[in-house]
Amino acid sequence: MTIQDPHAIPTPGADVVVATRTPNRSRRSSLAMFRNPGIAFGTAITLIWLVIMITVHWWAPYDPYESVGSRLQSPNGQHWFGTDALGRDVFTRVLYGSRQSLPIAVLVIASALLIGGTLGALAGYFGKFADTAVMRLADVTMAFPPILLAMAVAAALGPGLRNGFFAMVIVWWPIYARLLRAQVMAVKQREHIEAAVTVGATRGRILRRHVLPLSFTGVMVNATMDLGQVVLLTASLSFLGLGAVPPAPEWGAMITEGAKNFYQWWIAVAPGLAIATVVLGFNFLGDGLRDVLDVRSAQR
């Protein structure tokens, strides 16, 4: 987001600031990735949740969809986080919630990266009309407050996480379009690419072989942070009733249930903590990656 970039409009939700900053700042951080406490902590949390997501059906105490006890029990030995309005085990549902939020977060970012990144890279590389068209569309999309845009799209398409997914891809693609474009433009000016051009490599080859790999670092940092933001927005949409459909154990929807049963505080506490830890994990990871990757690019 340098001011010379005529299209630069950062988004409120996503932190695109660092990614387009020319990577020459010196920063004395730890060299080995995992000696960075942020990365270590973030990786640990993320891994824990990944393991839970993959293995939960082997060891979860109950079925997340079955009523397994009397309703609205406060936390006890049998139900660590109590039971909800239907008598389902809150602990089990929170664990299963990872199967809703994590895959959708990865899918949203991957799709946004694929669609937005491709458009942005092409825009940045070819410039001129392609650049103007893509970037104007990105500007318009990004001028919408993300939650409003997602709400409007989700309301139009109907409830369900699948429609929520489309809504969120629409929110996120411009961020990656802009990011990739900026990276491509910055990298394009480097000597070895100019050299490649003089040697006579084709544009596509240059884009594929030289430009994209160099853009990888900035994208990775942003994508990591954005994973957390998608988890948050998914939960927010579900909280507003525009995301997950019952009986899915989605964290935001569970908080809505908790809000309805305000005095049964345990229903909302656990899913809230689940969201917080997942997002915190991604944020720490992204923050740490940024520190570390910046150093590496400075050394290059």
Partner: protein
Amino acid sequence: MRSSFMGSSTGRASGRGLVAALATVALIAASCGSDDDSSGGTTVVGDSSNTTAGVDSTPASAGGTDVRELVVARDMDVNSLDPARAYCDTCQIYLTAVYETLITVDPSDLSQQIPRLATSWEANDDNTVFTFALADATFADGSPVEAKDVKWSWERLSNVKASASYLMDGYSSIETPDEKTVVVTFEAPNSAFLPIVSAPYMGVSNSDEAIAQASALADETAETDDSAEPFFLENSLGSGPYQLESYTEGDALVLVRNDNYWNGTPQFPMVTIKQVKDSASQLQQLQAGDVDIAMQISLDSLSQIEGDPNLNVSTTDSYNFVYIAVSPGAQGPGGAELQDPMVREAIKLAVDYTGILDVTVAGNGKLQASPIPNGFDGSADLALPAQDLDKATALMAEAGLTDGFTLDAMYPKVNVYGVDFDVMMQKVQQDLKKINIEVNLQPVEFPQWIDAINAEGIPLTAVYFAPDHTDSSQYPGYFGMIDGSPWSVRAGGGAAGAPIVNEKEAPLLSKALASSGAAKTAAYTELGQEMINDLIFFPLVNPQLVLASQADVTGNLYSGCCNLDLSFVGIG
């Protein structure tokens, strides 16, 4: 005769005491000029001299000094404040406080119909002509309430063709022989009309001012050309104890005392109905003393305030109910299978009714046999539904559907009368899974629901209903498989399908409207059984209501006609 909801609102809780049914029975028995008592062809059933029982018909009096402002916490569902277009539970409260009806119901003793703008009323033998004598009442601007205002208001209600217009269905003329007499004539017997007159939607507005200030129309052109609605969002033209001060959607409905009130001095200088969405917030604000009355405390949180010495908390039976409905003509998945009555019966038998009562209202409610709610004429002698999984499984096998099928269930995403539809439908989903029916839940916003159900029907849905008045006729009119009734069309698959008609029901309804006493009850009972046999509606919960206020608040009663009648509320 419609399900009484409007807009995408949630949390309506209109309450009806149990006794209202008795009121209806007693009243109709009397008003029909019971056969053994028809000396003069007409019978006076109401008269200002016999209203000493129960609460005074005059509003609670201020007694000199001003008491505090009254603050009521409520999740408001206002669709309009135009007396001819309003149709919601909050509207009932507003209209009752601001626009008066000719007759009302005593909230502490619902067997009493008491006068308001009318001093007396009578019906002819066959319930086709109704005559009302008006009191010397005045509107808030001091001008007298005259017969022409009643005629104009009722004609406007009928002609704008809004949700409550059906209340005037079937009238042939409204005559005003003099300034204080109104005569309404019906084409066919209408034993429901006197209860209907006490519905708040039948309130009287100042016609001269409505025409002058708002260019309001009351003739046939009102349907398309009347544009007075915005005016009524900012002004009121009634004769009631309170006047509209301001309404801010999402914030508050503020009423001020009508200083010219013709029938005593209203108790409160100001009444604020404050928008408070959640039951939990309402409860907290009541406990903190921030509000005087909280109208929608959930039954699950009742234990938080029971025994609080600063509060007045009780529960009462209501006439509200929540039901699921299956539409054999619906286009979506499951619609085809539902055409087999055995499948519909299997669904009925698979539902765990007591479990649903427990899950939705913590057991504080009743089961209900037919779409005619407990306490209404025709509800008493019908068998309550019960779960029978073995029989349900057998029926599914007989229908050749042992492996089950998928059933789409779109329902409005609401929380009404303490029943959260998401919770209820998840329970239904669990229950139907036991006979291998895979229910696909689709909670949607209310406008989308209406659109879907009118266009092509919905295989399985959930809805709620609160009565508009105290007569049973509204139920078969809405739920009956009678040509032209809303559910006859919906069950048949909306506009894309063909209405389902049960030939027995229309004649039964006419018979009920023309009869009285035991014959009328028998007719409604028979109608109730027919609606059970239709296997379209499965009423699930008839919830209780929580009445909660500060300990010094008096008169926080659910009125059979009007939800909360503010004119009876006081500080004691």
